[in-house]
């Protein structure tokens, strides 16, 4: 059943929802995108039981808790948050699926404290997506600092873009390019802080967490 769903969702359900959205008129982009964002997360949640065993589940909980706690800890510095960086690091060391879940769970959990809203599915998707890609690109990211910095910039943009898409779609119910561009323009300073915080956190935390994880591996044979 779960296996079937895992195949059905990306291959059938998501396209169907999008087609329905397109056919029924241009008003429902927002709703369609919410459903697609939620559906995109489902396969990862469904395969949870088979991929997460033993100590890995604790590390997932710790990494996610760190990124959520980071939002509280760095509260005095606006928009300077370690969430994206933690998600990327988690993915770099534990793989794409791990990254996706760290991202998606960070979104749900931090909104548990700060309030769920229509933005939740988009945040889940945005952070999950960034985590997934970081897992795929783990090798170059671990090898080169330049790649890491470029990726930090890229992921800051991607996160902002996804969230701006959300803002503009919710404000219009459909996608209006001028609205989207305006939203992007207004949020440019915030995007800049995102990117700066991504770079700083990644440069500082990656070697640190990397060393820690390696230490744990030798000390406890993870």
């Amino acid at each position: 059943m779960k296996k079937l769903l895992k195949i059905l969702i990306p291959c059938l359900l998501i396209p169907v929802v999008i087609i329905i959205g397109v056919i029924t008129g241009d008003k429902n982009y927002a709703a369609v995108s919410v459903i697609v964002a939620v559906l995109a997360c489902v396969p990862f949640f469904l395969s949870f039981e088979s991929t997460f065993t033993g100590r890995k589940i604790v590390i997932l909980a710790v990494m996610t808790a760190l990124s959520v706690a980071g939002r509280f800890i760095f509260a005095p510095i606006p928009f300077f948050k370690p969430v994206t960086a933690m998600v990327i690091i988690a993915a770099m060391y534990f793989g794409a699926e791990f990254g996706f879940l760290t991202g998606a769970l960070s979104a749900v959990l931090s909104n548990f404290y700060f309030g769920q809203g229509p933005w939740t599915p988009f945040q889940m998707f945005a952070w999950g997506f960034i985590g997934f890609i970081s897992g795929v690109l783990a090798d170059p990211l671990r090898r080169s600092k330049i790649a890491l910095v470029l990726y930090a910039i890229g992921s800051g943009f991607v996160y902002s873009l996804i969230m701006d898409t959300w803002t503009s779609m919710w404000a219009d119910g459909s996608f209006v390019l001028s609205r989207f561009l305006a939203a992007t323009y207004v949020s440019l300073p915030v995007t800049a802080v995102y990117i700066a915080s991504n770079i700083i956190f990644l440069l500082v935390l990656t070697p640190l967490i990397g060393a820690k994880i390696e230490r744990l591996i030798t000390k406890y044979g993870l």
């Binding site: 640190l208 060393a211 230490r215 000390k219 044979g221």
Partner: protein, 526 residues
């Protein structure tokens, strides 16, 4: 019936030349209460972990461990999880779940029990351990003692045959520790659960044991009933950790049955109808290091007052101990003196700005990956202090790989690099064994001799009695009694050391075991 039979067990950690355990022979009967004692590093933890498949350390092992007649390694995973429970030191990190009831149900869920069975067991064991009122609470809000009871409850809910405990009370305050041990004894009596427990602090647990296993350098030195151990144990380091009454008995070479409790010890001491007393060492010191006058403090506008008209004067070079129950405001007091928080009324007058603060968890002082990096970030001239604290060999180590005693010394060393004049210590003896405590105490005395003022907040009355110049009892936000150490503990009847309880009415001012011995010997000489 036998629960465990251990035959010629030896064990070596990878990359280590020494045997952590060598040639252990042991047999544990069902329903037995076995107490394992020994210095830190004597192999207690390793031995206990060998008894649990899921926690057995990696390394070279020879010999055999039989659980109810079968090799333990061949025990089915489900059986192993269910029948042997294990409890570790750290009350916090063992907890998995965010709510009390879901923590108790955790193991039962793993066993895949029916929902109705789980529901019944969770309710039953929550009430057995007095956690009813806490049932829905978030686990982070529990006190250390409640957390450890919760850990015990969640292991017991799986209805194990054996519970193995590795220093479960070392992080608890004395009252919570007694509560925990009483609960354990009750389990042993009510259900006949076999208990195998390692402990450092023996005063309260020793009398409960059916047998005591003394370990030294990875091998069994002696394993016998508690009274026989008192009688037979040769003079060695472990002997110093025995309860005060037992130690006194050994000193006196009495023919009586060895005493284990204060009550029995009083029999021993009553025959000294003598008024020998320890003279109070009084310091004459006029230079005030800092003073508090009528200080009031609360954390938030609408919260309750923590300090209520608190006043205190501490002199330069003095070692002052603040004792008191949990939640009486001891840690808050240190934060106030450290400058992390501010009073809303009253005055705190610091003569010196150089204040160093040793937190309850000394790990919090370290942020780098090696000690050397950490020291360097404070001051480059660290080598001299390192030599003095005997830390040269540890410089490349990660702070988290240090043992409790090493960590405490390292933390002090790092603080001293800031050249403090006042040293604030929060529970510095937490988790240390008797020998490490002595080392720490001596070090602190040395520092105070050099003119550093020390304020130490502690539950550890024996430590305060032995090393402090003056003590104050913090109760309900103010110092309710304060005196030079010997007089302080002599005047208290409940909040005092075992030695003081033992010698009450016989020897005045004898508050440490050393004092007691001095009195006894002086009387003998006359």
């Amino acid at each position: 019936m036998e629960d465990f039979r251990i035959e010629n067990l030896s064990f070596k950690y990878p990359k280590s030349d020494e045997y952590a355990l060598s040639d252990i022979k042991l047999c544990v009967k069902s329903g037995e209460f076995l107490l394992v004692i020994g210095e830190s590093g004597s192999g207690k933890t390793t031995l206990l972990r060998m008894l649990k498949n899921e926690l057995r350390p990696h390394g070279e092992m020879s010999g055999e461990i039989l659980f109810r007649g079968n090799n333990i390694a061949s025990l089915d995973e489900r059986e192993s999880a269910k029948r042997i429970g294990f409890i570790m030191q750290d009350p916090d990190s063992q907890i998995v779940s965010d709510r009390v009831y879901s923590e108790i149900s955790f193991g039962l869920e793993n066993l895949g029990l029916e929902k109705e069975v789980i529901r019944a067991r969770v309710a039953e064991f929550a009430s057995y351990f007095g956690l009813n009122a806490e049932f829905e609470r978030s686990t982070v809000t529990l006190s250390g003692g409640q957390k450890q009871l919760l850990n015990l409850a969640s292991v017991m809910a799986m209805e194990p045959d054996v519970i193995v405990l590795d220093e479960p009370t070392s992080q608890l305050d004395p009252i919570a520790a007694v509560e925990f041990l009483d609960a354990l004894k009750r389990l042993n009596d009510d259900f006949g659960v076999t208990i195998i427990i390692a402990e450092h602090h023996l005063e309260n647990i020793y009398k409960y044991a059916d047998r005591v296993l003394c370990m030294e350098n990875g091998s069994v030195r002696l394993c016998d009933s508690p009274r026989e151990v008192v009688r037979k144990l040769e003079d060695c380091k472990i002997a110093y950790t025995l309860p005060v009454s037992a130690r006194l008995y050994r000193e006196l070479n009495d023919k009586l049955n060895p005493p284990l409790t204060i009550k029995e010890g009083r029999e021993l001491i009553r025959k000294f109808k003598n008024d020998y007393y320890i003279s109070q060492k009084e310091l004459k010191n006029e230079n005030i290091a800092f003073s508090c006058r009528e200080v009031w403090f609360r954390y938030e506008k609408n919260s309750a007052d923590i300090l209520k008209g608190f006043s205190l004067k501490v002199y330069r070079g003095e070692f002052y101990s603040v004792v008191g129950e949990n939640g009486c405001g001891k840690s808050t007091l240190l934060k106030l003196l450290n400058g992390s928080v501010k009073q809303y009324r009253g005055r705190v007058k610091q003569e010196s700005a150089a204040v160093a603060y040793l937190p309850q968890n000394p790990k919090n002082l370290f942020v780098k990956d090696t000690l050397e990096d950490d020291f360097k970030s404070v001051d480059n001239s660290y080598m001299e202090l390192c030599r003095r604290f005997n830390l040269q060999n540890l410089l490349n180590r990660h702070p988290y790989d240090l043992s409790g005693g090493e960590l405490e010394r390292t933390a002090l060393c790092k603080l001293l690099l800031t050249k403090p004049e006042v040293l604030l210590l929060d529970e510095p003896t937490k988790g240390l064994d008797a020998f490490k405590k002595q080392e720490l105490g001596k070090l602190l005395r040395e520092l105070s001799g050099e003119g550093i003022t020390i304020v130490c907040v502690t539950h550890d009355l024996d430590f305060a009695a032995e090393f402090a110049d003056r003590c104050g009892l913090l109760f309900d936000g103010e110092i309710t009694s304060e005196n030079f150490t010997n007089a302080f503990f002599t005047n208290n009847s409940f909040y005092t050391t075992s030695s003081a309880k033992l010698s009450k009415g016989v020897f005045r001012n004898a508050v440490t075991y050393g004092d007691l011995l001095e009195c006894v010997k002086a009387v003998d000489r006359r």
